[in-house]
Structure formats: C-alpha cells, structure tokens
Amino acid sequence: MPLCVVAVIVGALAILSAAAPADAADDTSALFSSGTAALRDGRAADAIGSFEALADRGVVDAALSYDRGLAYAMRVRIGAESSGDLGRAAQGFEEARDLTHDVRLADDASRALTLVRSEVARRRVRLGEPVEVDPARSLSRTLAGLLAEDTWSVIAVAASVAMALGLFVRWMAGAPRARIGGGVASGIAGPVLVVAVAMTLAARHDRMHLREAVVVAANARPSDQRGIVAPGATPLPEGARVEVVDARGTWSRVRFGSIDAWIASSALRPLARVD
C-alpha cells in the first residue's frame, strides 16, 4: 500500500511540474494575444500594459519587442504620448532587430526605427539641439560586425590551414612554380589569419562584455560621477543606442559617439541579449 501511495504522489508531482510550464506558456500567449488585440483596436495603453507585463515576466522575443515598440509609437501618434515613449519605441525596435532571425521583421523594425529617430531629430531641431541620433560605431566594431562571429572563426581556421599548407609546399616542393605558389598562398593567408583572429576576438569580446541600452528619456543630461550636470551639456537624444560601460547606484556611465558621461539609470532601458 505505501508503494502505491508513493507512486500516486510521484505521478501527481510529475503532472504538476509538467503543467506548470504549460500554464506559464498559456499565460504568455494569452497576454501576447490581448496585447496584439489592443494594438489592432488602437488601444495603445492596453497594449503597452500587456507587453510590459510579459517583459516583467522575463519573456524575451523579437516579435514581442517589436510590438511593444509599435504600441509606444502608436501612443505617440494618437497624441497620448507620455514622456519617453519615443525612446521606449526605439528600444523595442532595436531589440527586435537584434533578436530576430526573420529578415522581414528586421526590415520592418529598421523602418520603424528610422521613423522614430526622424521624429526625435525633428523635435531636437525645434529645440536647437544637435540632431545626431545615431552616431557611427567605431571602425573595429563596424568591421567585426560585418560578419557573424562564427563566420570570422571559420575564416580564421581556413586561413590557418591555407597558410600552413602554403608553407609546407614552399618548403617541400621541388618545382620552382610550386614553391612560388606555396609562398604566395602563405603570404596571403597569413594576414587574413591575423585579421580573422582579431575580428573573432573582437566579436567575442562584444558578445561577452558589451552591454547596450537605449535612452528612454527626453532630457537625459550628461553628468559626472557625482550626478552634477556638465555645464552647457546637451541632453542625449531620446532613442539613442548607447554602450553601458559602468553602473554605480542610480547612475550609469555610457558612451555615445564621442560622448562619455554618466546619466541616470532610470533614463536607460537595456537591450536584451541572448548570446
């Protein structure tokens, strides 16, 4: 009899544990559906509530980020904007672009991001502030971002093999042409190997350490570590993508183009990373 009781208890636990993730998934789907329905009906605030509730639960999904960005953008469009809505919209689109593996979603997110940043730039022009909203990345990061990290890894391995083969041929071959061919191959593969290894390391460093966020406040003024606003400093553009270098208390140190400053952490919304 005790064995039967144990078996029943174990079975019940197994069912419950299987049910719990299923319940969570249902809850996620239900919330997402209610959010998209609200978005379709033009109820931006309700849509934002649903999508933010999913974000609070730790759900990270490209479509969710995209729709959340759309909800904030819609609230701006219908004239019910809250301060920081443009920034939060930009954050949703940036996150969707980073997370998705759907080319069309990435295109739509890029298009929406351009609209949002144009609106931010238009407002900054009215206020007499600089309109740079998306400064160029550094050269190294641009190069590393040309290809995926794994692609750079493969190129590095191929270059290594090619260089070694070239050296072998040059060393061992008797025919002059073969020796020349081996020398040329190793001479080309060597620099390619160096570049590919550097780009792999740069991409890996970014993956491991780079933390980025989007400014979600309309008046995030650059300050020093004590929170004292730099005199004459222009606020960082709302919706700007910044690199978060350090965080202490309620302040975060960010880099935006050539600007390296501290701003209130509440003015930033981090971009989710999966890798």
């Binding site: 759309l70 019910a80 979603l105 609106e119 794994d150 260089m163 190997l193």
Partner: protein, 618 residues
C-alpha cells in the same frame, strides 16, 4: 553651635592653608548623564583663585561656574575675614567604570592646594539609582556662614528638604512595557507595525516618549529636536504634530512607572526594494539638571521591502500602487460637436499609497489633456492614510459618431488580501456630431505615419548556444594546429639532420676508419686485383697516419709528406719508409703494365709493419 563651627573654622583657617571641601553629585550615574563636581575653598587670607577640576578621565567637562563670597565678622573686638570660592563643574559621563576624578585644586598666595579626589561610578544608561534629597545647591545660594540653619544644613540631612510628592498609583498597560528603560527620567521608543512590506505598502511608524513619573519635572529642549529620517519612504503624518502628544497609558519598566505619550505617528510608503532604514528621532534633555544636555534617541528600525509577486500581476500595474482603491467616473456632456470636448471627472478613493496618475484609455481621435488633480487626503482613522483624489480631464473628440471612451482601469496590490485587484470605471459613449467647421488635422496628427504592421505570433525564444571560439580546442587545434604542425615538421627535419650528422661523425672516427681500411686492404690483397690492393694499402696507410700521428697526408707529395710526418712526431726513418711505400703503391696503381699480385702482397706486409711502428710511436 554656629559659633563653635565658626570658631573652629577660624582656628583652622588662621593656619594659612585653605579649608577645602569637594563633593560629586550624584556619585553613581548612567552613561550620558551629568555629574556636578563642586569644590568649596575657604581662606581667611585671600580669595582662592584658578580652580581646576584635576583629572576628569571618563567624563567630558560641559561647564564650569564659580561663585566667590567674602564675609567679615567682628566678634568680641576681633575681626575675622572669610574668603570662599565655590566652583561647580558639570561633567558628562562618557563610559562605564569607576573613576577617580580630581583632585580639584585652587591657588592661594601663589601656592596650589588640592582637595581629595572623589570616586564616581558610571553604569550603563538608565541603570543608575534614583537620587533622593536636594543634591548640590546652586552656588549662588551656598553660604556656609548663613545665619539660617536650614540653608547651612541644606542637603546634609536626608529627608530634611521638601518632600517630592510620590506618584499616584496608576494602572499600567502591559502592552507598553519594555524589558528595561532605555535611559533615566525620559526616553524615546519607536516601533513599526510590520518589518516586511512591498513597495508602496503602508507601514505605520510610531514614536513614544516614556516619562518617569517619579522624576519630578522633566523637560526636553524643543529647539534641539530632530525627527526620524525616512529618506526611502513617502511620509504622511497620522496625527497632528503641533499639539500636545496624547497620553497613551502608563507602563511599568525597570520597576518604575512611566507615562507613555505618542509623539509621532506616520504612515510610511516605501519607495523601492531593499532593506530600508528609519533613522532615530532624538531630542536633548533640559531638566532635570542632572541630565541637562543629555541626548535621548529612539531606535533605528529597518523594514525589508520587496516587489509584489510577478505571478498574476495584471498588465498596467505600476510598482508602488498598493492599498485598497475604488474608481468612479462621470462624463459630461453626453453629446458634443466634432472637435469639441467633454469633461471626465474621475474619483479615486480608498486607503494606502494613492496613485498620482491614472492611465487613460487613449485611442485614435480621442485626445486626453492633462488633468486637474485635487486631493482630500489624510488620516482616515488612527492608523490608515487615504481619502480621495479627483482627476478632472478634458477630452477632445475629433471623429464624428458614437465614440466609446472606454474604461478606466487601475491595477493595484491589496496588502490585506495579498493579491492584485483592479479598480474599474466605465466611461460610456459620447455622441459626436459631425461638424463642417471641424479643425483640420494638425501637425501632431501626422506624427509617425506609415508604421509597419504588427506581428501577432511570437517568434519563439532563442536559447543560449555555444560558439566554437569559446573552446580552447578551437584556438589550439583550429587556429594554431596547422602552423604548429608545420613548425614541428621543420624542427623535426632540422633536428633529424643534426642527429644524423652527429651519428655519422661518431661512426667515422679515425680509429674506426683505420680498422675499416685495414680490413679492406686485407680483403683486397687476398683478392686478385693488384691495383685495387695497392689502392686499399695506400688508403690504409693514410688512415694510419691520421689515427696514430694525427696528421693527414692526403694530397701531399713525397717531400712534403715526410715533412708533415716528422712535424707530427714520427721518426724520420719511419716517415721516409712510409713515404717510399706510398710512392710504390701509387706507382703500381697507375703503372700501364699489369701489376704483380705478389708484389702487392709484399707491399701490404711492409705496410702493416709501418703501421705498427706508427702505432708504437703514436
């Protein structure tokens, strides 16, 4: 009696040294309490001066006051002068222990005179025994020659002074009792109704003052009162603070009866998660004199604050909205022209952390302007904060037809029910009549046109994946493997060559070569080829000169050959014999006619002898 005292005093004083009396009151105090050290020096010659308390370790001198007095008495034709200096020091006890204070001293006629040191015991705060009796008299009233016996004996006879009326018997409330008094005469005690809360949940903070009923008049310095610091909370008083603190009851603490009054009661709403500190309220004592200047502080309290649970959290919940709320809304008018506006009056009532804003159901064509907010908030009862907050919105309607304004919803966390609730108020529909004079869409309406379509299916979460460059195998084998292999091959080949060369050089040593050539010559001489035999004999002779004389004669002509051998230490006859033999071998080798094998063998025999001679001489 007085005369006797005076005569005796006079007799004593006439000797030059002053009469000194020192006392400390009280002799046992608690930490932070005051002790008065009094020195009275009397001289018949001059006024004592420069009073010093002596060593005061364990105490901080907070004040000093001196009162000189002169008395001149003529009795039976004799004049007596008395000069008295009474100095009182106020000492604040710093730490527990038994301390010897002093000796206090004065200067008289250029000489410093010291009294005896006094012993003062300092115990923990609130542990000192209560004093009875008059204690030290103010210096201005101290006059040892006063004609009033009461003044003279003041403070010297226990119970002689006015009696303090003992406190009437009162019933004490056990709920107000504490384990021990926090200080003597008066102390502060703070409490919270909970030590764990969620963000925005009300925490009731109270500060009580405990007044010892047997202490007589107790006063605090109202100018030196500091409220508790509550930087991590929003604070709302639950009682008026500009009135006398209400009496809560009586408590028995440490065997004494205390009156307990509620001096502060606040509703605190935590602003963020964490262990949030409520700093102490503190005041300074003014009376009784023995504790004047001493500080009284309440406890420092900590409240652990976290977020309400994620599970079941409704969309739109704003962290900090906690309490019990209800919403009511009225829309007027019910009909309006296109482009016109309606008023929406929203009433948010309840208790707790009243939200400062309400999310409006913004939709296209409906513009909600910023509301006017009015509050009627305050204590709703003894320990709850709440009331009513009204929002008056103006809503502009841009599209004709029957416009449903939607519903107001306010999600909040109910701390009593420990669950989320949503307060709702339906707004109903408004009929918007089309108007030809409706304003054209302004620039604001053209914001963010042509947004791309939404996505109604989740893409699916991406899981963490490994990258090849995270592995050491990638770096060592993938990147470094091939070049490393090439390097190893090159190194191996070079090493092999060097090894073979070393091996070869070990194999072809002069002795071994000689041995090989002797064997070869032997074999050649046993054969039938005389020229080969002569060649082998010549090579054997060359190897022998290298092995035994250390000189190579290869390529040397006859004269030079002998010279080389002699320079190498070979005897002249042996050298010439060897040269002659080599010459014969060469001649035979290159002779056009056939060479006699026997002659070759003979030359071999002679060569062996020459080699042996070389060996012996080498």
């Amino acid at each position: 009696m007085i005369s006797l005292w005076v005569l005796l005093a006079g007799a004593a004083l006439s000797q030059g040294a002053p009469q000194m009396q020192v006392q400390a009151d009280p002799s046992t105090v608690g930490v932070g309490e005051m002790v008065h050290l009094q020195l009275s020096a009397t001289s018949a010659d001059a006024m004592p001066s420069d009073p010093q308390p002596g060593t005061t370790s364990g105490f901080a001198v907070r004040g000093q006051s001196s009162a000189p007095a002169q008395t001149h008495i003529i009795m039976n034709g004799s004049r007596m002068d008395r000069y008295t200096l009474t100095t009182t020091w106020a000492l604040e006890a710093q730490r527990t222990g038994t301390f010897h204070v002093g000796p206090a001293s004065i200067v008289l006629g250029g000489t410093r005179y010291s009294a005896q040191p006094v012993t003062i015991t300092v115990v923990a705060a609130g542990q000192a025994p209560r004093r009875h009796g008059g204690g030290l008299s103010p210096p201005t009233l101290q006059n040892p020659f006063s004609l009033s016996p009461f003044d003279l004996w003041r403070g010297m006879v226990p119970g002689f002074d006015e009696d303090r009326s003992s406190p009437e018997a009162v019933s004490t409330d056990p709920k107000l009792a504490l384990d021990a008094p926090r200080a003597s005469y008066y102390f502060l005690h703070s409490t919270v109704d909970k030590t764990s809360a969620v963000v925005g949940e009300q925490v009731v903070f109270s500060v009580y003052e405990y007044i010892d009923l047997g202490a007589g008049r107790v006063e605090i310095d109202e100018e030196d009162l500091h409220d508790a610091s509550v930087a991590d909370f929003v604070k709302h008083p639950l009682q008026r603070e500009d009135q006398e603190a209400p009496l809560v009851g009586y408590a028995s603490v440490g065997g004494r009866t205390w009156a307990v009054k509620l001096v502060r009661r606040w509703a605190l709403f935590p602003l963020h998660v964490g262990d949030l500190t409520i700093g102490p309220m503190h005041v300074r004592m003014r009376r009784p004199a023995s504790v004047a200047g001493a500080e009284r502080a309440a406890e420092t309290l900590v409240v652990h604050v976290k977020e309400p649970p994620l599970a079941g959290r409704p969309p739109g919940y704003v962290l900090g909205d906690a309490g019990r709320f209800s919403l009511a809304a009225q829309v007027s008018p019910g009909e309006v022209d296109q482009g016109g506006a309606v008023g929406v009056h929203v009433e948010l009532s309840g208790t707790g952390n009243m939200p400062s804003a309400i999310q409006t159901p913004a939709r296209e064509g409906i513009e909600w302007l910023a509301p006017e907010v009015h509050d009627e908030l305050g204590p709703t009862d003894h320990d709850t904060f709440g009331g009513k907050r009204t929002f008056d919105f103006v809503v502009r309607l841009r599209r004709p037809g029957t416009v449903d304004l939607g519903e107001l919803a306010l999600p909040f966390w109910d701390p009593e029910q420990r669950k989320y609730e949503i307060a709702r108020a339906k707004l109903g529909a408004v009929r918007v009549a089309p108007s030809a004079a409706a304003p054209a869409q302004d620039e604001a309406q053209n914001r963010l046109p042509d947004l791309p379509p939404l996505r109604d299916v989740l893409e699916g979460g991406r899981s963490l994946r490994a990258h090849p460059d995270d592995s050491l195998v990638f770096w060592f084998a993938g990147i470094g493997g091939c070049p490393l292999a090439f390097g190893v091959a090159v190194a191996a080949r070079a090493g092999g060559r060097r090894a073979r060369s070393a091996l070869r050089s070990r194999r072809v040593s002069p002795a071994r070569e000689l041995k090989q050539r002797l064997a070869a010559a032997m074999a050649a001489c046993e054969g039938g080829d005389a020229r080969a035999a002569d060649a082998a004999i010549a090579r054997a002779l060359e190897a022998a000169t290298v092995a035994h004389a250390g000189v190579s004669i290869r390529g040397a002509v006859a004269g030079e050959l002998v010279e080389r051998l002699e320079r190498a230490g070979v005897a002249p006859d042996a050298a010439s014999g060897l040269a002659e033999l080599l010459g014969e071998c060469d001649k035979a080798r290159f002779a056009p006619d056939a060479v006699d094998m026997l002659a070759a063998r003979d030359r071999w025999t002679r060569a062996q002898g020459t080699i042996r001679r070389l060996e012996r001489s080498g």
